[in-house]
Every structure is written in structure tokens, then in C-alpha cells.
Symmetry: C2
Subunit: 323 residues, 2 copies
């Protein structure tokens, strides 16, 4: 069976996600036409996942469909934006209808869940890769940036750290772990912290999503803000499998530096910490204070025994890893 | 030399294109923040070019940089939109600074020329491919669609057809041609018809850009509009090399069905043909009437001798071609 480029988009993606009145023209023309509500700024992020780099060959199509949208929603969450629209470019070695159908199921189910409409796309032949551009809106001037952290702000993270990294070690290197199903779900189906990001707009001074690993991403915040920071490893929020892995002598780099967590890392000024406390009960995940913004430059990371932690590498870098 | 993902974007693309006041936050955060002027609709299009499918291995980096933006500007032109912003995802087998520098030069020079700002991006390792999402604005409700053609409308195209297709035959199959430099420039550096698209907003009933070949793209307009059409091949606007190629017994599929022309094909109601005439003097390229919208379904294509032309394939299809 041969599917043409035109068929593939029209057949599988013409009704994907939540129908929206602000989509004037969706899939099927030269471009999408979208209506931006007055008083809002547009927020847009483009990410590409490549087989063998960002996901393992043989990754379930449905999981990949889900994740390729989730990682972009996570970027919007880190800006405090409400996700509305997505475009999708799919590069495939062959147009296997079952694979495309699985991918569509994963992608479109998350789109529906998140209130997002797929409004356009492109299908090409080649090494398997997925590019998604997610778009959302934020009230004018309210987008969260990386550059707003100030000395004395607390450093916080959502959820737990290291689950995806430990899953990858288990799947790729055969490391025995506890509760692989849970860890694998965290790797394959990350929960973009959209509601948290939205709540943080009025409270946080800076935010980023943890895609490259906590320390690397936090370093981006510190660099953009022109400040330093200290993080206490014993404060990192951990799931049971990661905690037990560390208790058995595991590597702190898993929660501190492995990528793919898609939690938010953000900073909150002392003046707003009361407001943050009030938010906590309404949030769908825990929020943990792990450190503090300091004077000067650079990030100090302290192990439970007070020693300085040396990260094995500066986060996830596609041109360095596996090189 | 190793360039990290972060370096690559920051070093090469942080000042790319025309600085714009409506870019609230550009390259360097989790997402771009953009301000949409009141009364305007957002128009967005995402396209991917893959090495070996859309461009030949060894294609000059600068030409590729230029073309990867141009093909997206062409989609915006077909909607009648004014291009403003772009995001770029670059997948590369290695981070060769010379290659990236060449790509940047081509991409950013066109961005500057077109008044577009690069506002975000992503760099990954893998088989060489480029995804660009271009965004623009169009006055509310004024976007040109594929679906507006009505019986009796004239069918028009901009520029000349078949130049890129003949260049590809020459480069890939060694076909001897006249003025390869001109043809190759048409293949490598297509001129998106942005000014024409903008002028056509008030005049055309439907529009599309010719990326897959005239007949395939016109068929999309006919299908979306629920009408038929007739095209006379002897009316197709041809450059001298393509005209001479046909005079020497060449294949009409080159101007009629080869892709990569990036001209506009549009339809104009009889009532607006006076308005179109008035526009012509101010346009940067010729506009030629090549056919007419008819009742019923399907496209009739007539050769100069009046015989029905049978296209060898239905345009450029990435999952059929070379299969």
C-alpha cells in the first residue's frame, strides 16, 4: 500500500485534537490561519526528535506521538503559556499505515487532552524524525523567562527527577531497576506542567523546563539572569525507584544531570513565597525547594555529605553524546 | 572542534534577519514570544527539506539555507500573508562550523531581505534535514485559500514554469541544457512571490504555490473548490532554456508537472480581471493566464495540437517518487 504525502496528512491528521473556533483554516491549505485573542502574546516553540538520538529505534509509535507533542507543551508550560495549536512534520522511512495510525493516536489523544488543535503539517521520506511546533498564548507581557532570577530567590522543581534518566539506563544499558513500568512511563509519556506554568506567571521570577538535565537547564537560567546558585542534592525530589537506586550506590548524575524529565525548574523571590505556598494545594504535582540563587556566577552543587558534586557532563548535548 | 547544541544556536543564529519590535523574546529561551498586531490573523506553515529527497547531497550550504526559508515564504505568499517570523530546526550529521556558517549566511540574508526575524530553533544530530516554520500576518478574514475558485474564473501563474525541473534533470541525469547557471539559480534560490500574494488578496478567488508541479497543485485548488478546469500547455510561460528544450522534442511534464517552481497559481473571477490588469504593471514578475475554471470535476490539459496531455505522474510525491 502506498500513501501519498497528501493522503497521509488528509487521512490521518485532518481531525486531530480539540476543534477550536480560533482556527480559521486548519490542515489542508498552504498554511494555517489562526486568530490571536486581543491582549495576548503568541508563544511558539519548535523541537525535533530524531530516532537514535532522542528516542530508541523500535520505540512504540503511539508513545512517540505522545512524547513529540508533550516535549513542546513542556516548553510552553515553562513560559506560562496556554497551548492552543500545533504543526507537525513527520519524516518516515516508509508510509506504514499501522505506524502512522499509532503515532496519530498518541499525538492526537494528548492534543485533545491539552485542548490543542493540529493545524498543519508536512510529511517527508527519510530517516525517522518528528518536528513539532507548538503555539500558545500568554497575557501580554506575562511570559516567564529564563532571565529573571535574582539573588535570594528560592530554586524549585516540580514532580520528581531522574525517572526518565534511570529508565534510559535500564533500557539502553540493561541496568536492573525497580518498577521499570513506572520509569518507562515517565520516559515515554512525560506530563507537561502546563497548569503549574500558568499558575506561576504571577509568582515565579524565572522558569525553564528540564529537558537537558536539571544542572544544565538551571545553568541556563543562571547564565541568562547573571547570577549564581546553590543546589543541595539531598533535597532533590525522588521517586522510590530512583531513591533506592541511589541508596544502593547509584550515580547522583541520574536525578541531577540526566535529561528527559520535563519537569519545571523555577525561581521565586522571597516576597512571593507566601503566594507560592497558597498555590501548592491546587497544583497537580509536588513542588520542592532545592536551592537558592546566590551572588556571583556559576552553580554550586552539594552532595548529602557536604562535598562538592562534580557532574559527569554538562547535560544532554546531541553533538557530544555518543561522540 | 565541537559545538554544543546551545552554542550552535546562540553563536550562529541569535542575530538572524531583521530585528523587529514585535519580537518580545527571540532566540535563547524555551520559546519565542511574539506580538500580533490587532486586526490581523496569524498565518503559519511548517516545511521540512531532507537531503536526498528535496535537495541533492553536496548542495551548497548557503543555497540550502536560502531555499529552506524561501519555500516557506512561498507558502505565506500563497495565503497573501506578510512574513514576519521564522523558527528553524537543523538536523546535521556533524557540527561543521563552515557548513553552519554557510547555511546561516543563506538563511539570514533572505530573512533580512524579506523583513523576517529568526526567533527560535533547535539543533539535533542525524541525517541532514531542515525544518522551518514561517509565520506571517494577514488582515482578518483576508487570507487566500485553495477553496475559493468558481466556474468561469481565469487560471493564472506568476513567472515561468519548469526552470527548476529542467535544472534537476540536468544535474541529476546529466541532460544537456542551455544556460544551466540560470536554471540552477531558479532551483536553488526560488523567489517567493510575497508582494504578488499580498496584491492578490483583494483580487484572487483562490491561490496555491507551485511546489509539487503545476498540475498537481492546481488539482488541489480544483479539489478544494469542487470545480474542474482546463489548461492550455501552449500558454504556459516559459524561459528560453525551457522553450528550446521543448522545441527540441522535450517533455511537457517539465513545465507542467515538475516541482520546485515556487511560483503562484491563482484564480481570478471575471469581475476582478480589470483590477488584476491594473496591478500587473506594479508586480515584480509576469503573470500569465493559462486556463479557466470549468464545471464538473477534474483537470483537462491540452497540448498545442489540441490532444489531451497525460501527465506521467501526479506531481511530486515523497512516498512514491524513486520507490
Amino acid at each position: 500500500m502506498t500513501l501519498s504525502e497528501f493522503d497521509l496528512i488528509e487521512r490521518f491528521f485532518s481531525d486531530c485534537g480539540t476543534p477550536r473556533d480560533d482556527v480559521i483554516l486548519g490542515v489542508g491549505d498552504d498554511a494555517a490561519v489562526l486568530r490571536v485573542a486581543p491582549g495576548m502574546d503568541l508563544v511558539a516553540t519548535l523541537d525535533t526528535l530524531v530516532e537514535g538520538v532522542h528516542f530508541l529505534p523500535g520505540t512504540d509509535a503511539q508513545a512517540l506521538g505522545y512524547k513529540s507533542l508533550a516535549v513542546n507543551l513542556s516548553d510552553l508550560a515553562a513560559m506560562g503559556a496556554e497551548p492552543l495549536w500545533a504543526t507537525l512534520s513527520l519524516t518516515l522511512p516508509e508510509a506504514a499505515p499501522d505506524w502512522v495510525d499509532g503515532f496519530r493516536a498518541g499525538f492526537c489523544s494528548l492534543a485533545r487532552e491539552a485542548g490543542v488543535r493540529l493545524v498543519g503539517g508536512d510529511t517527508t521520506r527519510g530517516h525517522r524524525a518528528v518536528s513539532v511546533e507548538a503555539k500558545g498564548l500568554v497575557p501580554r507581557g506575562m511570559a516567564l523567562r529564563r532571565s529573571g532570577a535574582r539573588v535570594g530567590d528560592g530554586i524549585f522543581v516540580t514532580g520528581t527527577l531522574g525517572d526518565a534518566g534511570l529508565a534510559l539506563r535500564a533500557l539502553r544499558d540493561g541496568l536492573p531497576v525497580e518498577d521499570l513500568a513506572f520509569l518507562r512511563a515517565r520516559l515515554d509519556r512525560p506530563q507537561a506542567r502546563v497548569a503549574v506554568g500558568r499558575s506561576l506567571r504571577a509568582v515565579a521570577s524565572a522558569a525553564i523546563d528540564i529537558s537537558d538535565g536539571l544542572l544544565a537547564d538551571l545553568a541556563h537560567v543562571l547564565g541568562a539572569s547573571g547570577v549564581g546558585g546553590v543546589v543541595w542534592l539531598q533535597r532533590l525530589p525522588l521517586s522510590a525507584p530512583v531513591r533506592h537506586y541511589l541508596e544502593a550506590g547509584g550515580d547522583w548524575a541520574i536525578p541531577a544531570a540526566a535529561g528527559d524529565d520535563y519537569e519545571l525548574c523555577f525561581t521565586v523571590p522571597a516576597a512571593n513565597q507566601g503566594a507560592l505556598e497558597k498555590l501548592l494545594g491546587g497544583l497537580p504535582c509536588p513542588v520542592t525547594r532545592i536551592g537558592e540563587i546566590t551572588d556571583g556566577a556559576g552553580l554550586r552543587v552539594l552532595e548529602p555529605d557536604g562535598r562538592e558534586f562534580r557532574a559527569p557532563r554538562a547535560g544532554y548535548d546531541h553533538f557530544v553524546r555518543d561522540a
